[in-house]
C-alpha cells in the first residue's frame, strides 16, 4: 500500500492540483502528448481520484516518465493546475517507493543518475564538456568534436577558464564548495535516492537474467 497521505502532502501536489474540468488545454499543447500516447489530463484524473491502486499503477508505469517538464501546461490551465509539477512529485515518489523499476522508462533513471548525478557529485556541474562524448551525443556535430579536441584553445579564445581555479566559465569548483554540496546531497536524501535507484535497478536486472 502506497502512503497516500504523504504523497498528497507533497507541496508540488498540494499547490498544483486543485480540481480539473477536463478541458484539455494541457494536452493540447503538451509536446509529450504529440510524441507519446500520453495526456497530462489523465495524470490529473488519477490524482483527483485519490485511488491508491490507480495511483500505484500509474507510478509503476511508463506513463509518468513521458513528460518533458517544459511546463507549458502550467501557463494555460483555467484552474491554475500544473500537471508537469505534479509529475515531478510522482516521479520522486515512484523512485522513493521503488515503483519505478516496474517500467522500462523508470529504470532509465539509473542512466540519469550515472551521468547527471555523477557530474553534480564529482564536478559540481550538471553537464561538463568532458562528460559529453561524441559516442553518446553524435547530434552535437563535428564542431563539438573539434571543441573537445581543442578544449584549452577554445576556452582561451573566449576568455574561458576551464578546469582552472578562480571565476569564469567552466572553472574548477573549489574543493570546499564541492564538499558543501556533497554534504547537502547526503544530508537531504539525494545520495540515498541514488543508491536506491542503483541497487534496485541492478537487482531487477539480475532477477531478469536468472
Amino acid at each position: 500500500m502506497i502512503p497516500m497521505d504523504e504523497i498528497y502532502a507533497d507541496p508540488r501536489i498540494r499547490e498544483n492540483m486543485n480540481a480539473c474540468i477536463n478541458c484539455g488545454v494541457c494536452t493540447a499543447l503538451c509536446p509529450a502528448a504529440d510524441y507519446y500516447d500520453y495526456e497530462p489530463r489523465y495524470v490529473e484524473r488519477i490524482i483527483l481520484m485519490r485511488n491508491a491502486d490507480a495511483l500505484e499503477e500509474l507510478m509503476s508505469s511508463d506513463y509518468i516518465w513521458y513528460c518533458g517538464q517544459c511546463m507549458s501546461c502550467k501557463a494555460r490551465c483555467p484552474r491554475q493546475n500544473a500537471p508537469g509539477t505534479v509529475i515531478s512529485a510522482l516521479r520522486y515518489w515512484s523512485q522513493k517507493l521503488g515503483l519505478f523499476i516496474r517500467s522500462p522508462k523508470g529504470r532509465q533513471q539509473l542512466i540519469i543518475k550515472q551521468n547527471i548525478g555523477k557530474n553534480i557529485y564529482e564536478l559540481g556541474y550538471c553537464v561538463h564538456p568532458s562528460r559529453l562524448t561524441m559516442e553518446e551525443h553524435p547530434e552535437q556535430g563535428p564542431v563539438w568534436q573539434w571543441i573537445l579536441n581543442n578544449l584549452e584553445k577554445v576556452h582561451a579564445l573566449v576568455d574561458g577558464n576551464i578546469d582552472k581555479n578562480g571565476p569564469g566559465p567552466m572553472r574548477k569548483i573549489p574543493e570546499e564548495s564541492l564538499q558543501e554540496i556533497r554534504s547537502i546531497l547526503e544530508g537531504t536524501g539525494a545520495i540515498d535516492l541514488w543508491n536506491q535507484i542503483e541497487m534496485e535497478v541492478i537487482n531487477t536486472d539480475n532477477d531478469q537474467n536468472c
Binding site: 474540468i21 478541458c23 484539455g24 488545454v25 494536452t27 493540447a28 502528448a33 494555460r76 491554475q80
Partner: protein
C-alpha cells in the same frame, strides 16, 4: 405619489418601467448611454427560436412618450444618499433626484476577450467575438477580415467563463446555446463552410435547447469537439492555427481555420462594481450584486426599498431577464403600496 428611480435602460429597466407606469407610478429612468435597449442591441436574433431582437424592443417603443416617465439619457448616478427618506440620488451632471424606491438594472458587460491573450483576440484579425459575429449575421454577410468567405469557422465556448486565469470561475450559461444559434445561422449563410464548436461541457439548460443542439448536428452538420482552445497562432497566409485537445479521444488536435469566434461570457459591469463600492451595496463573489437571498428574494437588496432587476445579479437570458424584471416590479409595487397603507 411615491417616486421610483430605475437605473439602467436595458430590457430589465424598460420592463420594470413599463409595469410600474401601467400601475400608475411615476418613474424616472436613467440610462448612461444615449439610447435605450442596452446589450440586447448586440444580438440580431434570439435563441432558441431565432426571434429578432427588435420584436422584444418593440414592446417598449411607446414608453418614452409616457407622461409619467422622466427619461434621463446620458446620465450616470454616482452617489446615493441613504441617510434620509426619500433617498436622494446624485448624477454626474450634479442633478439630485429623490426616490422612495430605487431599482438597479445596470446589467452586465461583455468579457474583454483581449485578456485571453493566447486566443489572439486583438492580435490576429481573424479572431472575433460572438458580438462581432452577431453583427455580421445581422448584416447577412460573413467575411474574414480579408474579404473572403470563410471556409472553416471555429466557435470557442467558455471564453472568460469558468476560468480562474481571468478571475471568472462561474458559468455564463448562455454562451453554449448562443454558439449553437450562431453556428446554425452561419451555416445557413455559408452552406459550404465547415463549422466547429469547441466546448468543455454543453450546458443546454432550456427546454428546447437540446433539440436545437441535435438539430445543429442533424440538419446543419455542425461538428462538436470536446476540448478547450489552448492557443491560436497565425500562418503566413493569415489563416489561423488553433490547438486544442480532443478530450474524448485524449489526443492533441491542430486545425487550420479562417475565422475564430470567441463566445465571450457575461461579467458584472465595471459601473455596477464601482457603484456598489461607492454606495455600500453588497456584491457577490463573482462581482454581481448580491440579492437578499437566492430563492425568494432574488430582486431585493439588503437595503430597504432598493431592488435589482435583470443581469445585474448574474447571467440571464432575455426571457429570464424579463421575468426577473416582472417579479421585481411586483415586489416594488407591493412594497410601495404597503408603505402607503
Amino acid at each position: 405619489m411615491k417616486k421610483i428611480v430605475i437605473i439602467g435602460g436595458g430590457i430589465a429597466g424598460l420592463e420594470v418601467s413599463r409595469l410600474l407606469l401601467q400601475e400608475g407610478f411615476p418613474v424616472t429612468l436613467i440610462e448612461k448611454s444615449s439610447h435605450l435597449g442596452g446589450n440586447i442591441r448586440n444580438y440580431a436574433y434570439l435563441f432558441p427560436d431565432f426571434t429578432p431582437s427588435e420584436e422584444i424592443l418593440k414592446n417598449y417603443t411607446s414608453l418614452p412618450g409616457n407622461a409619467d416617465l422622466q427619461l434621463l439619457l446620458n446620465t450616470e448616478i454616482e452617489k446615493i444618499d441613504f441617510s434620509s427618506r426619500p433617498y436622494t440620488l446624485f448624477s454626474n451632471d450634479g442633478i439630485a433626484i429623490s426616490a422612495d424606491s430605487i431599482i438597479i438594472a445596470t446589467g452586465y458587460q461583455i468579457f474583454d476577450a483581449r485578456l485571453k491573450e493566447e486566443f489572439g483576440y486583438g492580435i490576429y484579425d481573424g479572431v472575433i467575438t460572438s458580438v462581432e459575429m452577431e453583427k455580421m449575421i445581422r448584416e447577412q454577410h460573413i467575411v474574414t477580415p480579408y474579404g473572403k468567405a470563410p471556409r472553416r469557422i471555429a466557435f470557442i465556448h467558455c471564453v472568460g467563463s469558468r476560468d480562474a486565469k481571468v478571475g471568472n470561475t462561474y458559468c455564463s450559461r448562455l454562451c453554449c446555446i448562443t454558439a449553437i444559434k450562431q453556428a446554425i445561422e452561419t451555416k445557413k449563410l455559408l452552406p459550404q463552410a465547415e463549422i466547429f464548436c469547441f466546448y468543455i461541457d454543453l450546458r443546454m439548460y432550456g427546454l428546447t435547447f437540446e433539440e436545437l443542439y441535435l438539430n445543429a448536428q442533424k440538419e446543419y452538420n455542425i461538428q462538436f469537439v470536446r476540448g478547450r482552445l489552448s492557443e491560436t497562432s497565425e500562418m503566413i497566409d493569415k489563416r489561423l492555427i488553433i490547438k486544442a485537445e480532443d478530450t474524448l479521444i485524449g489526443r492533441p488536435l491542430k486545425m487550420m481555420t479562417d475565422m475564430l469566434v470567441l463566445m465571450v461570457g457575461m461579467e458584472a459591469s465595471n459601473f455596477s462594481k464601482q457603484f456598489a463600492y461607492h454606495n455600500g451595496l453588497e456584491i457577490g463573489e463573482h462581482g454581481f450584486f448580491k440579492p437578499l437571498n437566492q430563492f425568494n428574494a432574488r430582486g431585493k437588496s439588503q437595503k430597504e426599498g432598493i431592488y435589482f432587476a435583470g443581469t445585474s445579479i448574474g447571467p440571464m437570458s432575455v426571457a429570464e431577464t424579463i421575468e426577473h424584471a416582472q417579479a421585481t416590479a411586483l415586489s416594488t409595487i407591493s412594497y410601495l403600496k404597503g408603505k402607503e397603507n
